[in-house]
């Protein structure tokens, strides 16, 4: 299953791209409208993209009135990403969304450009859970000392799935002035640099919770998608890659099927969790692991 990552596609401006997805995810919606941060908001850096969009969105009222209805007509199921600054913010949006045809509510618990409510991840999930029966996906940042623990807490609070990962904080300076390229100073780092970080997060949370996981972070090819699935993802979302290649949904889907077959899996889904099949060696247990060093003649 291939989705877009929240904030990386406007399905109404690019409906032909949106229709190639198995579900479309909205940009994060907050209770009140937000213009977002001052420009400059994007800059490419070492193997990644920095952004400080700042959750620009029309607010939940205008979203429900003007955006959601045409989105629902596009075809693919609509996942609504919800953000806020308190558990009550999230709860209020969930109350409103419960009455709509949105397929899933994704709780953005991790945007690095606004105050970070990670501590309260479980409290937010619980508050949202009380307001809606729709599947709830908790979207986490990898910038947590122990992401698996937070994922576990979200699961206990009623999350039905996880979206992993959001961006991590980064900074790029202008070569000439040495001042930050983004108006906000730091921003969120996405793209290839995030790939090993995303894989690690999915790997850890799959073990800890067993919940469905939308994996994302630097996916550019079917091979990258397969690795996320092997680490534990049940679906894969495309973010930054869409900017360079709006044809990525079809391309990655085809490459993924091919890669999965190459590795002997009937379907990509059959590869889920394959990286866990042999338990990682314990500290100071080198003997068993020496097997890994053997090279074929």
């Amino acid at each position: 299953m291939i989705l877009n990552a929240s904030g990386c596609l406007d399905p109404l401006v690019a409906p032909d791209v949106a229709r190639r997805l198995d579900a479309v995810v909205t940009k994060t919606v907050t209770p009140l409208p937000r213009e977002g941060n001052a420009p400059v908001r994007i800059a490419e850096t070492d193997s990644g993209l920095l952004n400080s969009i700042g959750l620009a969105n029309p607010g939940i009222d205008r979203f429900l009135a003007d955006v959601l209805p045409p989105l629902l007509e596009l075809g693919p199921p609509v996942w609504v990403s919800v953000g806020g600054f308190s558990a009550a913010d999230y709860a209020r949006s969930c109350t409103r969304l419960d009455a709509t045809a949105a397929a899933v509510v994704e709780l953005n618990l991790s945007c690095p450009n606004v105050a970070a409510p990670e501590d309260e991840a479980a409290a937010i999930v619980a508050a949202a859970r009380a307001e809606t029966d729709k599947p709830l996906y908790a979207k986490l940042s990898p910038a947590l000392p122990d992401i698996a623990a937070v994922a576990g807490a979200a699961a206990e609070a009623g999350a039905d799935g996880l979206s992993l990962v959001n961006t991590i904080r980064g900074l790029a300076l202008d070569p000439a002035t040495l001042r930050p390229r983004l108006a906000t100073g730091t921003g969120g780092l996405s793209g290839p640099a995030l790939r090993p970080v995303a894989l690690a997060a999915v790997h850890a949370c799959f073990r800890a919770t067993g919940l469905p996981i939308v994996g994302m972070g630097g996916v550019e090819t079917g091979r990258h998608a397969l690795e996320l699935i092997a680490a534990g993802a049940s679906a894969v979302a495309l973010g930054t890659v869409l900017f360079a290649d709006p044809g990525a949904p079809d391309r990655v889907r085809a490459e993924l099927a091919e890669e999965a077959a190459l590795h002997g899996f009937g379907t990509p889904a059959a590869a889920r969790g394959a990286s866990h099949e042999r338990v990682a060696a314990a500290v100071n247990g080198p003997r068993a692991e020496r097997e890994r060093l053997r090279l074929k003649l």
């Binding site: 904030g7 690019a14 420009p39 994007i42 205008r62 044809g247």
Partner: protein, 234 residues
């Protein structure tokens, strides 16, 4: 909106700029002032480039190598492949009576194509140095001024101005000619409304230049028609 993989037919030096000539592939040249997203090899996101020339079977771009992305594009070689998406955005309106092209620096880029479509109207081009001014050769009927002279100093009234250049120049032109069509720039990661990275102040609020522009009316502050619902809070 799939990217096409176009073939580099050649790269020619035009002063400090590089004229990047690509096989057109399946892409349409669009309207002058529209742009394409070109992915520099090895980099993460593509860079916006105005179409400069559209000879049969070709799309040509004039690239000012100012940073990693434009340097990588200028460094492409004949035979290389490059991913291109476009045409994107809103170009110049061509239903004008007495067109005058007003350009500054690399802002000359869309004018060769625009000039051809408008029947070689007069053009007034400002450059930093004589070397940069070599690019004026691509535009018919062009008068050139060099810094410290500004193109706005030579602007006489009565023309339908179509301008492209650095922001201070566009702001000055907008003040002198409120009806001018101005081609703006902003850093862009996608070019098709997906990233909200290109937000600039339009009509007193932040909106996506790649969706609303890049060509806008002269009096952008408070003069832009109300945005469509879907982008109202961009």
């Amino acid at each position: 909106m799939s990217p096409a993989r176009l073939r580099v037919l050649g790269v020619e030096r035009v002063g400090p700029y590089a004229l990047l000539r690509l096989g057109r592939g399946p892409l349409d040249p669009g309207t002058p002032g529209q742009f394409f997203m070109l992915r520099p090899p090895g980099l993460v996101v593509p860079r916006p480039m105005s179409l400069c020339l559209a000879p049969p079977g070709e799309l040509a771009f004039l690239v000012d190598p100012v940073g990693a992305g434009t340097r990588a594009l200028a460094g492409l070689e004949r035979g290389d492949g490059v991913h291109v998406v476009g045409p994107l955005g809103n170009g110049f309106r061509l239903d004008v009576q007495r067109p005058l092209l007003l350009g500054g620096g690399i802002g000359v880029a869309p004018f060769p194509f625009l000039s051809a479509r408008l029947g070689r109207p007069p053009a007034l081009l400002g450059f930093r140095t004589a070397q940069h001014a070599e690019a004026a050769a691509l535009v018919p009927n062009a008068e050139v001024v060099l810094e410290p002279t500004l193109v706005t100093e030579l602007l006489s009234p009565g023309f339908d101005v179509l301008a492209c250049g650095p922001e201070p120049m566009l702001e000055a032109v907008g003040r002198l000619e409120p009806a001018a069509q101005l081609a703006w720039e902003a850093p862009m990661a996608c070019g098709f409304g997906a990233c909200y990275g290109c937000a600039v102040e339009i009509g007193g609020r932040l909106a996506r230049l790649c969706v609303e522009g890049p060509v806008l009316g002269g009096r952008v502050r408070g003069q832009i028609p109300a945005m469509a619902g879907k982008v109202a809070a961009a």
